[in-house]
């Protein structure tokens, strides 16, 4: 077994342990919140009798430990349980939302990552030029504004004042792909503006860092053109930090977009999680929480592996 395979297996093993701990933390967190699903659903209309009947029906009258162990036993058999609120299979409830979340994240990433990396490379290439400064000012201002503000400004400009795009990003299974791209353009653009700065600045910094190395000076001295110095000599050595920052931003696009979902009324996982937490619907909170945790863990593993592969010295050692 090669070193890299061993590493990946070890990391996956650790990841599973982490997920287990996360599930325990989520459970304790939901338990610590005041009130439960019966009280949240009945709200002001609750009476002691009806709450008790509701709890009996849901099994909420069982001790917390037993409920958690039952849930864990289910998960080991591939069953994430049913939503307490509507008795629907959690997997069935989460799947369409997951698809929507991945679609929006993929859409934003497909534009943001190439644009950010290209801008970063260009900014490094033309360091301290007008272009470099403009790109930095633009990127830093868009990251400095809260995302809901960016979203509202985009709606005001491109949906209200110039009605080019819809202000609600409503899609469902029947929406054709191109139509879906059009309808979700404004939320995607919001996300792009929010994540681009981080990746662009890191690309620029990583490349500029490498540009100070003696071998770059050597390349320059032997007369290699500037763009070739950057693409052939600097970029490959600057990849690990860039890969890491891209991974973090991809994870953010999947797990951190609830505000954008709310503003554009986009039915993604974030909204589902917020509703489930508000109603203390523990199986749904667990499923979504674990998915988010798994996203972080797997993107991190992927980033580490790619960083190692991109570095011949580490590759040889591994």
């Amino acid at each position: 077994m090669s070193g890299i395979q061993k590493l990946v297996l070890r990391r996956i093993g650790l990841g599973i342990v982490t997920l287990f701990i996360v599930s325990l933390l989520i459970f304790i967190g939901v338990e610590l919140l005041p009130s439960d699903l019966a009280q949240e659903i009945l709200g002001q209309a609750a009476t002691p009798e009806t709450v008790a009947a509701f709890r009996r029906e849901l099994g909420l009258d069982q001790p917390a430990v037993i409920r958690y162990l039952e849930w864990v036993a289910g998960v080991f058999q591939g069953d994430f349980g049913v939503s307490l609120a509507n008795r629907r299979d959690v997997a069935e409830l989460v799947a369409p939302r997951l698809k929507n979340t991945m679609f929006l994240a993929g859409y934003a990433a497909a534009i943001a990552v190439p644009v950010a990396v290209t801008l970063g490379i260009l900014a490094a290439l033309f360091r301290n030029s007008i272009f470099d400064r403009l790109a930095n000012v633009f990127a830093l201002s868009s990251i400095s504004l809260p995302e809901f503000f960016v979203a509202y400004v985009l709606i005001l400009l491109f949906a209200v004042n110039i009605p080019l795009f819809p202000s609600l990003a409503r899609i469902d299974d029947a929406t054709p792909f191109i139509e879906a791209l059009y309808r979700t353009f404004l939320p995607a653009l919001t996300l792009i503006l929010v994540v681009i700065a981080h990746m662009m600045r890191m690309t620029r910094a990583a490349i500029i860092n490498v540009l100070a190395e003696p071998y770059i000076e050597m390349a320059r001295l032997k007369g290699v053109p500037r763009y070739k110095v950057i693409l052939r000599h600097a970029l490959p050595n600057a990849l690990p930090p860039i890969i890491n920052v891209v991974a973090i931003n991809l994870a953010y696009l999947i797990v951190g977009v609830v505000v954008v979902e709310v503003v554009f009324v986009y039915p993604g996982l974030g909204q589902l999680l917020v509703d489930a937490v508000a109603k203390r619907d523990f199986p749904v909170v667990q499923a979504v929480g674990l998915f988010f945790a798994a996203t972080y863990i797997s993107l991190n593993i992927l980033a580490d592996v790619l960083s190692i592969l991109s570095n011949p010295r580490l590759r040889a050692k591994a």
């Binding site: 699903l37 009280q39 009476t47 009996r56 509507n86 008795r87 209200v160 554009f264 009324v265 039915p267």
Partner: protein, 528 residues
């Protein structure tokens, strides 16, 4: 005669041809008869079209189980898909819906409901007594989790008398019993063989069938062509969306993504008025804001302390600043001006620090220190309202410490538990239900632990009294008692505000219980 014809044409009872023939027979000329057609259609509901609605509420945890209906999304959907036995008419009276008629025994203890012959479920089956019994029983019994259970507490027995008649026996007389059935939890579903209903069923008797339903996101309803109720359900297709964010909701209306939204942000609602295609609809209602004090807990057990607090709140300021002008000052009693038996002779209680001081002195106090518990979700602006109250009360020597509680679990941990807190009531269709729910001794939701002998006596008597004039006097006295001796501060009644494009039309008079025509607007309104 012409008026009657116009009305018939408007409601679709007669065709245009019949109208013309009738009008001509009555001596109208052809051209004037055609004019009349136009006039009738201007006010007449139009058939067809699509209505898209953006609601604040709606959650992924919503289901079709009527026991758990708790937000506008499900209320409106429920009323569109299911019928109730009785519906609340715009004038506040009950009107037969699925029941064709109903009558009480002399002591108002036995109620007999006759069902409509022509009413059918969307699967074609006729509505029978068994369906009604199963639907009501869903909310009764030990294992019911229904929020409507307390409403139906007085039902002792339900029996079918043939296929078409249901007889309710009550533990005590209740003249307003039919109006209980207007409640959104009590839509009639088909009975199963074992005498229960399938709580998740979407088969109802209503004017609409569910085309698709995604909880907390969207519901699409389609008009039933064979709807048995004439002159209702005009719109072909209705789409309901949850748009929780107020800015997103208002944008959706402005950009034409939806035709109607509820609860526009009152701070920026004036900007909606600038759009020529948008109209605002404000509706007086039964919604009111309350600050209950436990009347059995010191210092609130002294009526002078309660009166001091009632005089120390600036009601007009509450309406102007918290409700942004969309409301009316309240008089510490919960019966709204639109309701039958509203006592219009109570003198309004003004902000009067001197009077408050006087009452404090009567209670033997110089100053008063109390804690007012509140949270953002007690009602929109509850924290602001509490802080305002705390400021104005200082003038009367009353120190109110505002305790801000977490919104999570407010209804289970603070409301009914803390001696002085903030809350609200969406209202009840009748004075009896409002008083029985929140002011009767021993009621589950008697938030002020109000226990007044004369009041309790009148409440039971008035409930069984069938003579309207006698009842009126009783309810007037009860409102007086609650206002003067009650343990609840009711600073204001709220107005419902909604915004819609000009193509949405509604009848001249709408029901004033809850928002949007008693939440029955889908079946009653139309689009052009």
């Amino acid at each position: 005669m012409i008026e009657k014809l116009k009305q018939d044409l408007a409601t679709g009872t007669i065709s245009r041809r019949t109208f013309m023939a009738g009008a001509l027979a009555m001596g109208a000329t052809v051209s004037s008869a055609s004019l009349l057609v136009g006039e009738a259609h201007a006010i007449a509901p139009q058939k067809g079209g699509t209505l898209r609605i953006g609601f604040t509420q709606g959650s992924t945890s919503d289901t079709f189980d009527p026991a758990t209906f708790n937000n506008d999304f499900m209320l409106a959907t429920g009323y569109a898909v299911f019928n109730t036995l009785v519906e609340l008419a715009p004038d506040g009276s009950g009107q037969p819906d699925l029941a064709e008629s109903y009558e009480a025994s002399a002591d108002a203890k036995t109620w007999t409901f006759r069902l409509r012959d022509e009413a059918t479920f969307s699967d074609g089956k006729k509505v029978t007594a068994a369906d009604v019994i199963a639907s009501i029983r869903h909310h009764l019994g030990e294992n019911s989790k229904s929020a409507a259970k307390p409403l139906l507490k007085s039902i002792e027995d339900i029996k079918a008398d043939g296929d078409n008649t249901v007889v309710f026996t009550l533990t005590e007389g209740n003249a307003d019993f039919p109006l209980i059935f207007n409640d959104y939890h009590l839509g009639i579903r088909p009975a199963q063989a074992d005498g229960t209903i399938d709580p998740d069923t979407m088969i109802g008797t209503g004017g609409y069938v569910v085309e698709s339903f995604e909880a907390g996101v969207r519901a699409v309803l389609k008009r039933r062509d064979d709807y048995w109720k004439k002159g209702r359900a005009h719109i072909d297709r209705v789409e309901i969306l949850t748009i929780a964010d107020p800015a997103a909701r208002m944008n959706a209306l402005l950009t034409g993504e939806v035709d109607l939204i509820d609860r526009p942000d009152l701070k920026t609602v004036h900007m909606l008025k600038r759009n020529p295609n948008v109209k605002l609809h404000t509706q007086d209602g039964t919604l009111h804001y309350v600050m209950p004090m436990h009347s059995d807990t010191a210092p609130f057990d002294d009526n002078n302390v309660r009166l001091a607090l009632k005089n120390a709140i600036n009601r007009q300021e509450f309406v102007d600043k918290v409700l942004k002008g969309y409301g009316k000052v309240g008089n510490d009693q919960p019966i709204a001006s639109s309701m039958q038996f509203y006592n219009d002779q109570l003198a309004p209680r003004a902000f009067d620090p001197e009077k408050a001081k006087y009452h404090l002195k009567q209670a033997g106090l110089d100053t008063l220190n109390v804690k007012l518990h509140t949270a953002e979700n007690a009602f929109g602006g509850a924290v602001d309202a509490s802080l305002l109250f705390s400021e104005t009360a200082k003038a009367a020597g009353i120190n109110i410490e505002v305790v801000r509680e977490p919104a999570d679990g407010y209804w289970s941990n603070v409301w009914l538990k803390k001696p002085f807190c903030t809350s609200y009531w969406g209202g009840r269709p009748t004075a009896d239900l409002m008083f029985t729910t929140a002011y009767a001794a021993g009621a589950d939701w008697n938030e002020s632990r109000f226990n007044h002998e004369r009041f309790n006596e009148l409440l039971v008597k008035a409930r069984a009294e069938l003579d309207t004039e006698t009842r009126r006097n009783m309810y007037f006295e009860m409102q007086q008692i609650v206002s003067d001796e009650g343990s609840t501060i009711i600073p204001a009644f709220g107005q419902y505000v909604s915004a819609m494009t000009k193509r949405v039309h509604m009848p001249e008079k709408v029901t004033q219980l809850w928002d949007l025509d008693g939440m029955r607007f889908i079946e009653r309104w139309w689009v052009s």
